[in-house]
């Protein structure tokens, strides 16, 4: 049944293939790319360009390339230059030169026969077709590592030196190579490597503050107003930081959390929705880890689980959890342990990845500990702990 009031305004804006008009914290790299390819807008017949983009998973490599592709194409059209952007994921084609070229050719000749020629013939056909159409192509080879693994130096050499064999004719193909690190290019021979590595743009991992900006942009596009509280955005960003600053993970998590909110007809995305979403992506609650906890560690964790289940906050202070723990102790006829002891439990539970503790500045009164339950749904944790405590 459809929810009465979906939290989503347009969930397509959270789709993995959606490329927003603005890429927060990648403006500098976008400008640099436009600069590298600037000559293509002014003197396309003179030279071709080769640029490498590197960065870990979820650092915005593909989004940056696609945003750039779309922007440079429209800029070229304004100036009457026929530029096309073609994006190929090499891994989808098992890194095979032949299939990658076939994909590029199909953009211009969709009914070109699929068999009966070699990669070399296909490459020269592609260039011939581009000549016929008088078009300049920026070919992005995403996950280029797969191409290097499969084809090695020779194919890369053929691609990068293509224009030297066509002296006097306009260079039709420019390249954007996307890789996680430059390490995979070490397998290439020295001359291929040197041709390739002239222009490298490295994308750093997003720190939490940048992930928050990215998420806020998407929240504004994809969600109804006031359905995603700031601390939920903060929690999602926090989780993405522990996934190496992976923005794709963050956006997917936000979408899933929205789905859980809709499924429960909650009207807004609560921290618990995020926890459910994260545990649906990775199984985070390992029962044997819970079983190995001591009695008061379990009681403390149960207090935390109840605290987060009982209200819609993503974070709590240590003293708030301490209060909830005291109630649990009373329920089980136990004397609560001291604050110092509880601090040790927090450390242990953080090390196990169940809780997360950060020391936050608390104005003039020194420091305080901020505790969150990042990835285990509170209700699930409460259920497991209650069952474990029953058994004793």
């Amino acid at each position: 049944m459809a929810p009465h009031h979906s939290v989503f305004k347009d969930e397509a804006k959270l789709d993995i293939n959606y490329v927003p008009r603005r890429l927060p914290h990648r403006e500098k790299e976008h400008r640099l790319l436009m600069e590298f390819f600037n000559f293509l807008l002014r003197f396309p017949e003179r030279m071709a360009q080769r640029v490498i983009i590197t960065g870990e998973v979820g650092t915005g490599k593909t989004a940056l390339a696609q945003r750039f592709g779309s922007d440079i194409t429209s800029e070229a059209n304004k100036r009457g230059v026929n530029v096309r952007y073609v994006h190929v994921n090499c891994r989808e084609y098992r890194g095979k030169f032949f299939f990658i070229l076939q994909h590029a050719l199909a953009v211009f000749r969709p009914n070109f026969p699929r068999r009966g020629y070699s990669s070399e013939e296909l490459l020269s056909t592609l260039v011939q077709v581009l000549d016929e159409e008088n078009v300049y192509v920026i070919l992005t080879l995403d996950e280029f590592d797969a191409f290097i693994d499969q084809e090695g130096s020779e194919a890369v050499y053929k691609l990068t030196r293509l224009h030297e064999m066509r002296a006097g004719q306009p260079p039709r193909l420019s390249f954007l190579f996307i890789l996680r690190t430059l390490k995979s290019t070490e397998r290439l021979d020295a001359s291929t490597k040197s041709t390739l590595q002239r222009n490298v743009i490295s994308l750093e991992r997003y720190p939490k503050s940048q992930l928050v900006d990215i998420l806020n942009d998407r929240v504004a596009m994809a969600f109804e107003p006031s359905t995603v509280p700031d601390d939920v955005v903060d929690l999602v960003a926090e989780l993405a930081v522990s996934e190496s600053g992976n923005a794709r993970f963050a956006i997917e998590l936000l979408w899933r959390a929205g789905k859980y909110a809709d499924a429960e007809d909650a009207g807004e995305v609560e921290p618990e929705c995020v926890r459910k979403a994260v545990s649906s992506i990775t199984p985070t609650l390992r029962k044997n880890e819970l079983a190995s906890l001591g009695l008061h560690e379990k009681l403390f964790l149960l207090g935390a689980a109840r605290f987060f289940k009982g209200n819609q906050r993503a974070y709590a202070s240590l003293s708030e959890i301490e209060g909830a723990y005291a109630v649990v102790c009373e329920e089980h006829g136990e004397q609560p342990h001291s604050h110092t002891q509880l601090w040790k439990y927090v450390q242990l539970l953080s090390a196990l990845g169940i809780l997360k503790a950060e020391v936050a500045e608390a104005g003039t009164r020194g420091r305080s500990t901020r505790v969150s339950l990042p990835s285990v749904p509170a209700y699930e944790l409460e259920k497991e702990l209650s069952a474990a405590l029953e058994k004793r």
């Binding site: 000749r109 969709p110 070109f112 026969p113 020629y117 013939e121 020269s124 056909t125």
Partner: protein, 90 residues
Amino acid sequence: MEIEEVFSSKPRMKILRLIARLGALNISDIARRINLNYSTTKQHLELLESEGVLQQRVYGRIRMYRFNDRSPKAIAVQNLIETWEQHNKQ
């Protein structure tokens, strides 16, 4: 060749409609799509080429047929097919 001779053949009309719809195609592909053997298809294509309606482009070992962009006859034929098909859709 007179116009009625060029257009009186059902396979030739099928070829023209096919290329109008899909763009450049090679002989085997055309033969398969209109359900005709290779050599007959090739003869029809050669005739349409000699009339200046189609042109062939050679890419290594592959030959592709398409409308001859510079021929007024080709433009007229494409317009005719397009108008006809649009009218039939309505």
